[in-house]
Symmetry: C2
Subunit: 351 residues, 2 copies
């Protein structure tokens, strides 16, 4: 061993969904099958490359103003970051500071425990019930903070406002984060409706799914002035300029086009409903999806075998080799044509 | 006080250089006065907005390949991040893990102690000598790691390869980081020449200064395979996708145009030499600059007064209200026309 090697911090790196280089049917990372709003392309074309020589606006004001107008939330109640991963990591750093464990579901977004470990935050995973639902009463006890996605991932199950209100009522002395990466695909309202009621609520959303801009890395949070200011203070304390100019301009353009967002979501939801019907006919069961993916298990064929057989046919879905969910596939909703190819392949595999 | 308020981590936020919204002569944040390579605009125009729906390449391969070709460094010896602040913060997290204090100059880039505090790394500031030079012997003692900029900021003083080699020879059991944000403006070679000699050396550079792309947020590091792999493991463990697609494409285009880089640097250096001559005539003294700024003190007029008088004339330079350097101004090199306006203003202020 070299003398300096013990100075290196070692971790087990996270394995993201495969990003194959050759053309495949890619239903494994919950991307949107449709392009972003045409206004995004216009914003990129309009960008004057000469202005790149200057540092970007620290507060990403063009984007913050557009989000404020689109959602009717005050500018000082909005925090933006380089993808919702950046926003969430910053929220963990800012709000989960106590000695008591933070609480989140055992089956959920796989970065929560990673960030908790990274920032040395004690945590406890709260098991979902037998039907993969969050038991709200499980969060009615002393803790250092609460975070859960709604809809949850990879289960695709969404809860209503009363459910979230109940969790907030029982957690008035900590920060509660609702991670709404998939909320646009749900019929349930966003928890931002509760912002006036609860100053300790943070609602996190993203441009990566419904706005079809995963390649742009834009996430944002709504919260009380006090929460948002605290997050900004932490962020600016160690990196003042993170969101680059193209993201600020393209993000602002996309946020201004809420009609296009609704249109995209309608198409994805229509295909999702069709997909669920067809998957049921093929012998799959799944929680009713309120996201842009279906979390499905087959009655006879093990998920891992289906995953591998699909991969051989150049159709990528997501498989998690983890307790409780090792017999499930997370299948992103693609175009109708892509889903038809999936159904054809599944028919052959399951025959 | 509300019940949840004690859950918030409080910090003193960093104050970045002012970014005035109206047109001024902006010599306060070391931006480049010239636009980026024309290939950057072409890359932005060529970007297909439809591809933004997909997550960007985790490893930012287009950019890594372009840097590898431009600098003759192997791909697996290159780490890229969202500005060199991101790269440096990741390096602090990965390499400064011990109980012993890391060492850096007392007058240097103001984020080093911020990151050390944030990641709870013990540190010790080593005073520069009376002429603002780094005393290399001060680093010949037990420590948890070493970091310094070369050229240093805000002093603009650069050291040669032998100096850096000596520090490395005396620090073979820790990681040594040389932060080369301004190296392109110096006649001294980059420490990357020492990569084959020292596997514990990390060299960090940026697109924000000489490549005129501060608005794009691109930084990178060169190091041994082992150091680069450790940084990637840490980074991917908590955020797999940070560099967006426009940065990857525009960055690759800029890296491929080394001729343009040299041309820009020549122009800035010519103006810097002229600026130093004129500032000396006006009664300023300063260390000989090897960066894109001059760190100057006037023989009679206090720096703060000059700073404020210039600001009233819409000319922004940087003033640090800190021990040892409170009588200095950091003046970024702008265009010749901008510097002429500065000289005119200074003549009036100093009359």
């Amino acid at each position: 061993m070299k003398a300096w090697e013990d100075k290196i911090r070692r971790v087990v790196p996270y394995t993201p969904g495969e990003q194959p280089k050759r053309p495949v049917i890619k239903l494994n990372t919950n991307e949107c099958p449709y392009p972003p709003s045409p206004s995004v392309e216009q914003a990129m074309r309009a960008l004057d490359a000469d202005t790149l020589r200057l540092y970007p606006d620290t507060e990403a004001l063009p984007l913050v103003k557009a989000l404020s107008a689109a959602y009717g939330v005050e500018e000082d109640q909005i925090f933006v970051g380089v993808g919702s991963d950046d926003v969430l990591a910053m929220a963990f750093m800012t709000f989960f500071q106590g000695e008591k464990p933070i609480l989140f579901p055992d089956i959920t977004y796989s970065f929560y425990d990673v960030w908790a470990e990274l920032f040395r935050i004690p945590y406890e995973k709260v098991p979902l019930d037998g039907t993969f639902h969050i038991g709200k009463e499980d969060y009615y006890r002393e803790n250092g903070g609460v975070i859960f996605p709604n809809p949850n991932a990879p289960t695709a199950i969404a809860e209503d406002l009363d459910f979230i209100r109940d969790i907030l009522r029982h957690n008035q002395d900590v920060i509660v984060i609702v991670d709404e990466a998939y909320i646009d695909f749900s019929e349930k309202p966003s928890a931002k409706e509760l912002l006036d009621e609860f100053e300790n609520l943070l609602v996190v959303q993203t441009f990566s799914k419904s706005r079809a801009m995963a390649g742009m890395r834009i996430g944002y949070a709504f919260g009380s002035r006090e929460l948002i200011k605290a997050m900004k203070d932490i962020k600016y304390s160690f990196n003042s300029y993170t969101m680059n100019l193209p993201s600020q301009m393209a993000g602002a353009a996309a946020a201004a086009d809420q009609d296009y967002l609704k249109h995209t979501v309608q198409k994805v939801v229509a295909t999702r409903e069709r997909t669920q019907k067809r998957l049921a006919e093929l012998g799959f069961s799944f929680p009713k999806s309120e996201a842009n993916f279906v979390f499905a298990s087959h009655k006879t064929k093990p998920a891992r075998e289906i995953y591998e057989a699909l991969k051989k046919k150049d159709i990528y879905v997501r498989y998690f080799d983890k307790p409780r969910i090792y017999n499930y596939l997370r299948i992103t909703i693609g175009t109708d044509a892509q889903m038809d190819q999936l159904f054809d392949a599944l028919e052959k595999i399951l025959r």
